[in-house]
């Protein structure tokens, strides 16, 4: 019991510590692909520290919601990330909150962020909030459809069990799995405000979505929101890694050596996924806003197709 709690707490701390590094890594790879030197890989930590130490400037008419939202958004994102197996399966919190809850927790964070963006009453906040909710209206069901597919495979909606199932040899290749993977990748790109959907590096553009929502934030509030965004990116990459590349992950109850291997494997997978993400990002141009629903609609259709294939191929006993 104690050991399970320790694993859980270690994973929760790991996602938190690693998230800025992941952002630094993606920025570094991106810069190198663009033949720039790029900032140091630990620059995001410095940025967060700098922001935290600064005075927070908020608009005169900002309400308590505006000030409280960053912390709740961060907390919900963090809990969701702590529910995703990283280097070991058998997370004890999985028995309290399953895969559907992860999606819903991210939904809560998004809901609050969209509200906070509307709080000051500026046009940029409104544009970001409204577009974010439009994207989410397709991305969230697409993600849920992928969740359904995976849950039907593993006979469980708990992410730990799904990951353990995919790890075991009986999990073969399947069309439904491929469809779920495609859906998840598209959703990850959309939800993390990556390039064809949104541009994380943009400012003062009518096309920005996530940045428009946090435009009024500064100082410690901004730092907390940036950290939440980094944790969210890590969450999605860990999710793809733990389900579709479960190799090396330590199974619950393994020895210390397996845990070390698991951790190493996790870091390698994360780096590989970050590299793939950045290559994709640099190779593609940003979409018009009203192209995005088509992009995310593809994810929804793929997810639904995967689920339907599983429904019709299941022989009742």
């Amino acid at each position: 019991m104690i050991r399970e709690w320790l694993t859980q707490l270690a994973q929760s701390a790991l996602v938190l510590g690693l998230a800025p590094l992941l952002v630094g890594l993606t920025r570094k790879i991106r810069a190198r692909l663009l033949r720039r030197q790029g900032p140091s890989i630990i620059q995001p930590y410095r940025d967060l520290l700098k922001l935290i130490r600064k005075e927070a400037v908020i608009a005169e008419n900002a309400s308590w919601l505006f000030r409280a939202a960053p912390y709740v958004i961060f907390a919900t994102t963090w809990i969701a990330a702590a529910l995703v197996p990283t280097f070991a399966t058998g997370l004890i919190w999985s028995t309290a909150a399953d895969f559907i809850v992860i999606v819903a927790l991210l939904g809560t964070a998004r809901f609050l962020l969209a509200l906070a963006a509307l709080d000051v009453g500026t046009s940029f906040g409104g544009i970001g909030s409204s577009r974010e909710m439009m994207f989410a209206s397709l991305a969230e069901p697409a993600m849920l459809m992928a969740v359904f597919t995976l849950s039907l495979f593993a006979g469980s909606t708990q992410l730990s069990s799904i990951s353990a199932y995919m790890h075991a040899p009986q999990a073969g290749l399947s069309i439904s799995l491929a469809l779920a993977l495609a859906a998840l990748i598209i959703v990850s790109i959309g939800e993390n405000a990556r390039i064809p959907v949104d541009n994380p590096a943009t400012h003062l553009e009518l096309t920005m979505v996530h940045e428009a929502m946090i435009l009024e934030y500064s100082g410690r509030h901004l730092a907390v929101l940036e950290a939440a965004a980094a944790v969210k990116l890590l969450l999605y990459l860990s999710l793809i890694a733990c389900i579709f590349a479960p190799w090396g992950t330590a199974i619950a109850g393994a020895g210390a050596f397996e845990y070390a291997i698991g951790l190493g494997a996790y870091l390698v997978k994360l780096a590989a996924l970050a590299f793939a993400l950045v290559v994709f990002e640099t190779a593609i141009a940003k979409m018009r806003v009203f192209r995005v629903p088509e992009f995310l609609g593809v994810a929804l259709m793929l997810g639904l197709l995967g689920t339907i294939l599983l429904f019709v191929s299941r022989i009742p006993h």
Partner: protein
Amino acid sequence: MTMVSSWSLSQLAATGVGILLALAVLGIVAARRSFGTRAIYAACALVCSGLAWVALLTLLAPVSPIDVIRIPVGLPLGRTLLGFDPLSAAFAVIVNAASAIVSGYAIGYGVHAREPLRVVPFYPAFIGGMNLVLLAQDAFSFLIGWEFMSLASWALVISEDGSPDNRRAALVYLIMATGGAFTLLLAFGLLAGAEGHYAFEELRRTTQSGVGPIVLILALVGAGSKAGLVPLHAWLPLAHPAAPSHVSALMSGVMTKVAVYGFVRLVFDLAGPPSWWWSVPVLIVAGITALLGVLYALMEHDLKRLLAYHTVENIGIIFIGLGLALAFEANGLGAAAALAFAAAIFHVFNHSLFKSLLFLGSGAVHNATGERDMEHLGGLIHRMPVTAVAFLAGCIAISALPPFNGFVSEWLTFQAILLSPELPQWGPKLLVPAVGATLACSAALAAACFVKAFGMTFLGRPRSTAAIAAQETDLWSQGAMLLFALLCLLAGILPGFVMDTLQPVTQMLLGTRLAPQSIQPWFRIVPIDASRSAYNGLFVFIMILIGAATTALTVRRVASHALRRSPAWDCGFPDSSPATQYTAGSFAQPIRRVFGTVVFRARELVSMPKPGSTAVAKLAVELHDTVWDVLYVPLIRLVDATTERMNALQFLTIRKYLMLVFGALITLLIIVGTWR
């Protein structure tokens, strides 16, 4: 319990209904003074909480056979059977708990009515009618209660008849209610057969062969029109907002539940064992209802109409659960049926809480500003802080977000959907994943809808002088809203207790039940098996609290405490005019473009002035209510044309009238003769 032993619980409940009806009469006198108005509402609150307790006691200690009291008055055989069985008791708990809190709100809010005499007497009668429907143990009392409920609520809808919109709403409502009651009458008539047994007990025993499918369709139409299933939802967004807000809360949050009760009573209890295909029409209608309901709500700028449309969505979610339960039940998958049914009835409970809360909030806003149009609101979080907190809780709950209660029932529905590959038939197999996707879509759209509702009303800068001058509402109203918000949270973090309390219904209708949930360790819920899925709302809630608190504390330790207020940044181009903010219309524009072009044939018409001209450019949005255009408009035309023709009958000579009567008699006799 010893106190009630001499009086049975059913007698107590019947007395409660009697008191409510007496209050209705008293209301005629009492409404002349604001003190009397308050007293009537306070009495309603007391009676409703009493009724809720009585129903809860019946539910927790079900007796078999159920305790029925016979009143020797009534149709057709001179008797009325009243009593609670687990099904009606569960709905009575839901209906009366919400009605009690709404009545508490009305103690403060109700005195603002312009003409209290048109509201106060009908209010207790409305609640009494709903309770009569639930108490009825025979078809006649059921229908009488149903009509009472419809007419009393109709009177409340017409109570503010100043605007032609309200009068139209009342007319449409009256027509739909009459039609609905008529189909229910037919359904009961079919079930009773030629012998004419009208007590539920007898109807259950003598199931007529072959009438099941027809009863299902009639129940879908009759109860569905009251509940707001698409395409019979048309009256709902007209009538619910037209009434005063505490009545809107009852109509949208509570009366629709009585309609769901009617459907469940007819289809699950009286219509006999279901066939698998019964689930197909229910699931199709429910899926369409869920998605269309929320899309309609998103297009709406009037806060109360938005909420009313959104009720349509929630009714869809409830019927998805009921449809799944039918499919599982017909295939002998008892545990899965129990889960789907438990999800549906949990959502019934949840919706009665958060929809009532949101309507009360909209009432507080309307009272403070005189506005229902979100385009004229904004910034109320500063001036109405308590209302804002309660309304926010309701918005999170209704958007199915953890840790509030809406998420739990949606989670349970998803769990039921994930069990449906076990269904052997192809129809449901293909249909259920699509319904699941619809449900997921509507949940995400609901979040967008309530970001809009809360954001435009309470956040941002005030868009009108009324919104600037708004004042917080009275303490009674605040208390009622906060109580609803608290219940939403409690039902979300301790769902096991709610599920266990509602389980006797599942036991009664499906003969099976879920494993007890409240004895699970750490208050989690495990609908099927712990290795399959579990949810712990309390854990999620505490973790969010701990996470947010530690983050805030850590940041405070490390970070600078300095906070400076300054004008908004807005990328360097802040504009002092509140008109530069996003409006409800602009917020919904992306979704309108993505979904609305198909569903509503939405078009944006831009009229630009010629270069050099100083005329204003205009943007108009054109939306078509497809359901209304396709279904109702031709119907209205048909009725109009027919009445136009029939009008000639009014001016005949007496001879012609006699011939007409004679002809009709002969025709009828021929029909009867050939029928036999």
